[in-house]
């Protein structure tokens, strides 16, 4: 087992390197715009010359790698935060996104599972249909529609919650004050709907499949009450795909939802990725891109390993 894990980690680094090269070439294909005024155009060209943008892409890539390997310097941002080192650009914005997503996870994972289980147990009865349609509604309605509805009714019309997330200064210099939390309720709610719905649907689907399998029949014939059979056996089996999904949701915490952050003015990393493409801030794009890629690849390993961990029958890599 340990040899297998080592092999996987080595492969992750190879994949990481290939993706990094691909992204670097892809982004460098997009050329920034030249300013119009003659004098400023010459200035901008001189600045790009100084930063080495005119060199062939592979040479630039070599310089970029050398900076990372020798000084762990992922470059400076020129468009999003003028002259700020790239890791500062990311970590300044990480906390609000992580907080919002963490609150939403903590709020929606238990609800999602419970609703899923309840729906599975009451399969094809009116509760199940009610819950399924409710799930479908929340999964299918675009996030900016119910984000707007939540904002319109719970804040604009009634004034119970502030319209947008409060700033650090207004919240008394801390991210953990009551005003800050109250101002986060709406974005958390908006984020949670889709998580609860998708988790519930997934749990319901897995559980129904497990409930109809033959070992449940065996459990019942063994004399277990239906409640015991469900909790002891059915749920354990149903968890096989659910746990990795929760793990990947945890990992997903970091990418933040672009639209929710736009509507509730959350200063998070959500818009950073797209912003760096629009403004062609090369170093920020590479750093953010590689940040997510590393998280995804490492979560892949964790999930694959968790398969083996939860369901002993499914051994990885064995023929």
């Amino acid at each position: 087992m340990f040899k297998y894990v080592l092999k996987r980690i080595a492969l992750v680094f190879v994949t990481f390197f290939i993706i990094m090269t691909m992204c670097f070439i892809l982004i460098k294909l997009l050329q920034p715009e030249k300013p119009m005024l003659g004098a400023q155009a010459a200035m901008e060209l001189a600045r790009r010359e100084a930063l080495g943008y005119n060199k062939p892409i592979l040479v630039q890539y070599a310089i970029y790698l050398r900076n990372i390997l020798t000084k762990w310097d992922w470059g400076t941002s020129w468009e999003i935060d003028y002259m700020a080192p790239v890791n500062e650009v990311i970590f300044d914005r990480l906390l609000p996104t992580v907080l919002i997503n963490l609150y939403s996870m903590v709020f929606s994972v238990p609800f999602g599972i419970i609703i899923g289980i309840y729906a599975a147990l009451k399969k094809n009865r009116w509760q199940d249909h009610l819950i399924s349609t409710w799930i479908m509604i929340f999964v299918s309605v675009p996030s900016y529609v119910y984000a707007f509805i939540v904002q319109y009714f719970l804040s604009y019309k009634t004034g119970w919650f502030p319209l947008i997330m409060s700033s650090y200064a207004d919240a008394g210099g801390t991210f953990f004050s009551w005003t800050m939390f109250r101002s986060m309720v709406l974005p958390v709610l908006a984020l949670s709907f889709s998580t609860i719905a998708s988790l519930a649907r997934y749990t319901r689907a897995e559980l129904t499949e497990v409930l109809t399998s033959d070992f449940m029949l065996l459990a019942r014939t063994k004399g277990l009450t239906s409640r015991q059979a469900t909790t002891r056996h059915a749920l354990r089996n149903a968890m096989v795909p659910i746990l990795p999904m929760i793990i990947s949701m945890f990992i997903g915490v970091l990418d933040g939802s672009l639209i929710i952050e736009k509507i509730f003015a959350v200063p998070g990393v959500g818009g950073l990725y797209l912003n760096s493409i629009n403004l062609l801030d090369y170093d920020v794009f590479m750093a953010v891109g590689m940040f997510y890629t590393f998280i995804n690849l490492s979560s892949m390993i964790v999930i694959d390993l968790s398969y083996g961990f939860i369901d002993p029958r499914v051994r990885m890599g064995e023929r």
Binding site: T15, M136, S140, V145, L274, L297, E318, R319
Partner: protein, 511 residues
């Protein structure tokens, strides 16, 4: 009934039977059920997925049949009647789609809106009273308008007809068009050309808004000829019409190269242009397109794109996943890494690059570029699903048995394991359809892809364009959102239904 109390069975009940004609397995009377019929039987039992199937069929029919019945072609757009509320003469009799809304107007707003009715009633420019204005059929104020004050400001709550609220517009017409309009006026009895306003006088507030026919000061408040403010609740509005040299009311202003600048009541102009009164069942969107027809065309395009994508994803994903899942070991490792690399490709970058390099230079249409962008990374999830299913079933006893019987890999894969995996594959490929529509709307919201043109649009683009009007004209986004939700619900339920139907383990077991 214990076997011992059989007792006296009458003799005639018994009959001699020849040893050979006792057949244990009696011929089935029921028709033979092949795989799909059995699946259909089980599918029919699940009510919700049948309803879902019906909804899908309804939407597809709606998408293909509406253009035949609708009064407006897809490319019809009217810049003035943009963002209008849903209105249909039939339904408004029972109170739905009346095309009216409540508005709270300040004095200035009330004067402006009431003014439209007064001007419409005063066809020859000799003046009309407020009563005549309110009574006129073209007055936007349907009901209400009583004065009340709050925080020492005057307000009027009234119900306004969205179509009549447009009132008058200025228009440049050639000599022949002008004659044609006059002729239509006589023949239809509907007044089209109204007295022209003296635009360059300093009592005129706006050179482009034809509803300011009355004298106003610099900020649009009604005034009399001496410039003193008028109170709409007490006084009448004073007209500011253009006079010919002989003092009579001018109905046009001569422009260069014998063009005429006229002031037209747009409601009647619409009838003059299109032959029927303006009514859009689902209202119009930001660019003045009829939402009903655009929705049909958008659904068609989005469904087409989604089905193509899910079909391609299904085939590639299934084959890739099967090979990966079945062979495991080295093959699995390598293929897994390949799919890691491809999944590492940032989807937004790929979509942007396709748009930049392929579409902007006109080599490929947006549709194909989007299809390619979706397919490039789309099949991964199906491959992943299939791989997990294969891992689940690979070591099942019956598969081992099949292999020991000498079945070749291909047969084992696609005869034994694949049908079991079919359930989740069908579900996931059916779920791909709404999620493709969804991410297409995300791409158009972010401005990367734009399927919008006068002859075609897509559900995603309509959703993205409607987002900016959420607080002001919610009906624009409401209908596409309903359609996409219905599609999502029905495809999900349909997918669930299919999965249960095709799930071999459920074959024959009662639910």
């Amino acid at each position: 009934m214990k076997p011992t109390d059989l007792g006296n069975i009458p003799a005639e009940k018994l009959e001699f039977a020849h040893q050979s004609d006792i057949r244990h397995d009696v011929k089935f009377e029921t028709k033979p059920l092949n795989y799909f019929q059995d699946a259909w039987l089980r599918f029919r039992k699940n009510k919700s997925s049948v309803i879902a199937f019906i909804i899908i069929i309804a939407i597809v029919l709606f998408a293909f049949l509406t253009p035949l019945f609708s009064r407006y072609p897809v490319s019809f757009s009217d810049g003035i009647y943009s963002k209008k509320l849903p209105k249909s003469f039939v339904l408004s009799k029972i109170g739905i789609a009346t095309g009216t809304r409540e508005r709270t107007l300040s004095d200035k707003g009330y004067a402006y809106t009431l003014g439209i009715g007064i001007a419409a009633a005063d066809t020859d420019g000799q003046g009309a009273t407020k009563q005549e204005g309110l009574a006129c059929e073209f007055s936007p104020i349907v009901s209400g308008g009583e004065l009340y004050t709050s925080h020492n400001k005057n307000y009027h709550d009234c119900v306004i007809d969205d179509y009549l609220e447009t009132g008058f517009t200025y228009m440049q017409v050639t000599e022949s068009q002008y004659e044609d309009m006059l002729a239509w006026q006589e023949e239809s009895g509907r007044q089209l050309i109204y007295p022209m306003v003296d635009i360059s006088s300093d009592f005129n507030f706006s050179r482009t808004d034809a509803n300011y026919w009355y004298k106003t000061d610099d900020s649009g408040n009604p005034v009399n000829s001496l410039g003193e403010r008028l109170d709409i609740n007490k006084d009448e509005l004073e007209e500011n019409y253009l006079r010919n040299t002989d003092g009579s009311i001018a109905f046009y202003q001569g422009k260069a190269s014998n063009m005429k600048y006229v002031r037209v009541l747009y409601y009647n102009y619409f009838i003059y242009k299109n032959g029927h009164e303006p009514a859009f069942l689902l209202g119009t969107d930001g660019a003045g397109y009829d939402i009903l027809v655009r929705l049909a065309s958008g659904t068609r395009l989005s469904l087409l794109l989604a089905i193509c994508v899910s079909a391609i994803n299904l085939t590639i994903g299934a084959v890739y996943g099967a090979v990966e899942g079945y062979y495991g070991g080295l093959v699995d490792l390598i293929l897994e890494r390949v799919s890691d690399i491809i999944s590492g490709v940032p989807f937004i970058i790929v979509a942007t690059l396709f748009q930049l390099h392929l579409v902007a230079t006109g080599k490929v249409s947006t549709f194909t570029a989007l299809l390619f962008a979706f397919v490039l990374t789309g099949w991964l999830s199906t491959a992943y699903n299939v791989r997990t299913q294969f891992y689940r079933f690979k070591n099942q006893e019956y598969v081992l048995a099949a292999r020991t019987l000498g079945a070749k890999d291909l047969r084992v894969m696609f005869k034994h394991i694949f049908p079991n995996a079919l359930g989740t594959i069908i579900t996931s490929s059916v779920l791909v359809i709404p999620s493709v529509i969804f991410s297409e709307s995300m791409l158009s919201y972010l401005g990367i892809a734009n399927m919008n043109s006068s002859t075609q649009t897509s559900l995603g683009t309509m959703l993205a364009n409607g987002q900016q009007y959420l607080s002001t004209f919610p009906h624009i986004i409401f209908f596409p959102a309903v359609i996409i939700s219905l599609l999502m619900i029905s495809f999900n339920l349909f997918g669930n239904g299919l999965r249960d139907a095709f799930n071999p383990t459920l074959r024959g077991s009662e639910d």
